[in-house]
């Protein structure tokens, strides 16, 4: 029986409540279970000021600015949730904050390399367990991201759900169970229909193809 401890405290200066999820197992389950629970987990992470402050401190002491800190904080949450959702074998073996700080450090190092800055970055090997996290292609950024988002906004919610699960490696049986389809066959049919719709949309809008995946 897992024990879950929730610490709820009020931030007196900002007058808001923040829910801190101390149980790593619970948050992983939340992310995998349903869209609603996933949203709850994401909101808890966004509202975790302690985590935000840790990442911010790291970025600011390593040639970053406040805006960089906010970006990396968000990107770390995105990367974490995607990893949990798409990799069924993933297990969180350290404290959540430690893991996310490791993700943020990897992301920031990649960003610094990208910007070609020369500086020394201290890495606390003991606290990072982000070995699972490779360079994560964060798709929804920049101009390409805007185009992608535009296409996603056009897609029906049901299609997005089934395609998202399929792209994340879920089997049709699992998709059927999670999304309430009668059986794997129905889920597969739904997925095919949705892909056809997407192909059709791309055929009608060839300029979008060129901008998402330049030739």
């Amino acid at each position: 029986m897992r024990e879950v401890t929730f610490a709820i405290f009020s931030d007196i200066s900002r007058k808001k409540k923040v829910e801190v999820v101390n149980d790593s197992i619970l948050i992983v389950d939340q992310i995998r279970s349903s869209e609603a629970n996933r949203s709850t987990a994401i909101r808890a992470l966004v509202g975790d000021d302690v985590l935000r402050q840790k990442i911010r401190s790291y970025i600011l002491t390593n040639s970053g600015e406040a805006s960089d800190a906010e970006t990396i904080f968000h990107d770390a949450i995105v990367a974490f949730v995607k990893t949990v959702f798409t990799k069924k074998e993933f297990r969180l073996t350290t404290h959540l904050h430690g893991y996310l700080l490791g993700v943020a450090r990897n992301l920031w190092m990649n960003e610094l390399r990208r910007k070609k800055k020369n500086h020394t970055v201290s890495i606390d090997h003991a606290s990072t367990s982000a070995g699972d996290t490779d360079t994560i292609a964060l798709l929804l950024k920049g101009e390409r991201g805007k185009i992608l988002k535009m296409v996603l906004d056009v897609m029906r919610k049901k299609c997005k759900e089934v395609l998202m699960h399929w792209a994340s490696g879920f089997k049709m049986v699992e998709i059927a169970e999670k999304l309430g389809y009668k059986n794997a066959g129905v889920a597969k049919k739904k997925k095919s229909e949705c892909m056809k719709e997407l192909y059709g949309y791309l055929r009608e809008n060839p300029h979008i193809k060129e901008r998402i995946r330049p030739q």
């Binding site: 808001k16 966004v46 509202g47 949730v81 792209a167």
Partner: protein
């Protein structure tokens, strides 16, 4: 296996060797299929973005909610008293201006409405009994009766249609124009009313009454010189005055 399933199977390398070779031959022969295979990559990029889009939307929404809470917290702090007094005064002043403007507009509208009611009463009193004996066939007579009945029952839309139809007959043009002019006046289409009434006058149909309605139209449109002209044409015209 359908078209798209084949593409996916090919790209995920789950086709048998012979099926794969057949598929590649088909691609060489069919430019459309080749394009579809290329499009699949784009489609997979899009599908791959669904999860990330969902996560970022939640993050964005949550950050906006936090910022909203921070702004309202900041707003609760006390402002310097002189600044708040000035703002309060300006708000009251703006409210007063709005109330006055509404009052003026309302009064103007009410006055105009009052005038129109009096005009209608005057028209009723002024109008001589109609002697619209129509000589013609029974259908036209029926049509005329229906149209006048609809008008008297304030069913103006119906009356308009019937009078328009009646106006297609040359003999009834004057009558039709007169009633259409009266209906237009009642429906606040003053310029249309003037047009119809002038037509009816040319036919010589109920000229004095047409002039009376014209006076009312000219009064509302502030066409004073036209009113003076009509006074020369018709005696005992009722000229409305503002109270």
């Amino acid at each position: 296996m359908d078209y798209y399933d084949q593409i996916e199977a090919y790209l995920s390398e789950s086709l048998s060797a012979s099926d794969k070779a057949a598929f590649e031959r088909a691609m060489d022969e069919d430019a459309g299929l080749k394009q579809a295979v290329a499009d699949h990559g784009v489609a997979m990029d899009i599908v791959g973005g669904i999860l990330e889009d969902e996560i970022r939307q939640v993050i964005q929404h949550e950050e906006e909610r936090h910022k909203g809470q921070e702004s309202s917290a900041d707003g609760n702090r006390t402002e310097p008293s002189t600044k708040s007094n000035t703002l309060r005064w300006m708000r009251w002043a703006a409210a007063a201006v709005v109330v006055l403007a509404l009052g003026w507009w309302g009064q103007t509208e009410y006055t105009l409405r009052q005038q129109k009611v009096r005009m209608n009463i005057a028209l009723t009193l002024y109008s001589k009994p109609s002697s619209d004996g129509v000589r013609g066939n029974e259908d036209l007579k029926d049509l005329e009766e229906k149209a006048i009945k609809a008008f008297n029952l304030n069913r103006y839309e119906e009356a308009r249609v019937l009078f328009t139809e009646l106006g297609n007959n040359e003999e009834h043009k004057g009558l039709s124009s007169f009633y259409l002019g009266h209906i237009s006046f009642l429906e606040n289409d003053y310029e249309e009313s003037i047009k119809h009434l002038n037509l009816s006058k040319r036919s010589g149909y109920r000229v004095d009454e047409a002039n009376q309605i014209l006076v009312f139209n000219y009064f509302i449109l502030r066409m004073d010189s036209e009113i003076l002209e009509l006074q020369n044409e018709t005696e005992n015209l009722i000229i409305p005055l503002l109270d």
